[in-house]
Symmetry: C2
Subunit: 195 residues, 2 copies
Amino acid sequence: MKLQFWYDFASTYSYLAAARIETLAELAGVTVEWRPFLLGPIFAAQGWKDSPFNLYPVKGEHMWRDLGRSCDELGLPLKRPGVFPRNSILAARVALVAAEEGWCPSFSRAVFHENFAQDRDIASPEVMGGIVEALGQPGAAVLARATSDEIKGRLRKVTEEAMKLGIFGAPSFTVGNELFWGNDRLEQALRWAAR
Amino acid sequence: MKLQFWYDFASTYSYLAAARIETLAELAGVTVEWRPFLLGPIFAAQGWKDSPFNLYPVKGEHMWRDLGRSCDELGLPLKRPGVFPRNSILAARVALVAAEEGWCPSFSRAVFHENFAQDRDIASPEVMGGIVEALGQPGAAVLARATSDEIKGRLRKVTEEAMKLGIFGAPSFTVGNELFWGNDRLEQALRWAAR
C-alpha cells in the first residue's frame, strides 16, 4: 500500500525523516508520496502562535540536544538555524510544483539541507531559485508558477486535507486513514503499509 | 554507566518503557535505577493543569491509537483506562518504599498493569495493598510507611530533582546530566550509557 509522507520544511524531525524514508521504503517495498504542507495553520488552530519548542523552552532545549544526538548517529550534518522556525511557505509552494514535475524528493532534501545543515533562509527566493537551478530546473519559471494563485490555493487545500486526517505535527505518515506521528514512527508506518 | 529511568504511573508511554527496559538494559550491560516521580507539578510549571493529551484532543486521539498499535507489536495488553490520567501520588510513594527495599521494578510493572491493562484505580489504597501483598510484602505496613511525612517529602524532592535535570515528560532517561525523553529514546539512552 502507498504511504503518504507529510512534512513541513521548518520541522526539525521532518529533516530526519526526509533523509531516511527512501531507503527504508525501498527495503519495505512501499511507495511513498511526498506531501509538503504547512504546520503553522494547524498550530494556530491549537492556539499556538509559535513552535511548541519555543513556547516550552525546556522541551525546546531537549529537542535541539536530541536532534544533535540523532544526527550524529545517522551521520547527518546539523547546524542549528539562526531563525527557528523558518518561514516555509515559499519552499512548500515550490515543492508542490516539484511534485507535479517529479523532482519533489530531491528538492525537499535540498531544502532541508539548506535550513538545517547550512543555516540559510529558505524563505528567500534567491535560495529557492538556487536549489531549483542546481536540480537542472528553470529557477525563474518555477518560482513564478510557485507563487501563482493556483499553487497558493493548492497549498491551502493540502493543509486542510492534513488537518482533516487528524495531523497535528510533522513529520506524519498516513496509510489510508491510519495516522502515524513523528520520525520515530516511520518504521512502524512502513510495516503497516507493507502488510 | 548507570541509567536512571524516570517514570510516572499515570503516563502511558512509561508503561511501555517499564515493560521493555530490563531486557534491553541487560543486553546492553547497563544498570538501571528506577526513579518514580510526579509529572503533575512539572506540567503545572508549564501552565498545564491536565495532561497535554487531554488539553490537545487531536494529539490525545493519536496517542491512544499509537499506544494500541505499539502494544500490539510488543504483545502487551492494553485496556484504555476509564480515567486518564489517574492520580499516581500514592503509587509513587509506595514505589519509593519499594525502592528502599529492592522490589521497585516488579511493583512498578504491576502498577502499570493495573492501570493500563486492567483499568483499575491505582489511587486506591486497596488496589495498592493488593499489589504489595501479591509481591509477598506486608500491605498495611508498607502503606503506612508510604504515607509517612518522610516518604511524602522524599517524593517532593525527587520531583524537584527531575525538574532540575530538565525533565518535562515521562518516561525520561538520564545518564549523568544527559537527558533522553520518551520511550522511543530508550535504546539510544542505553547506547549512551554503555559507551
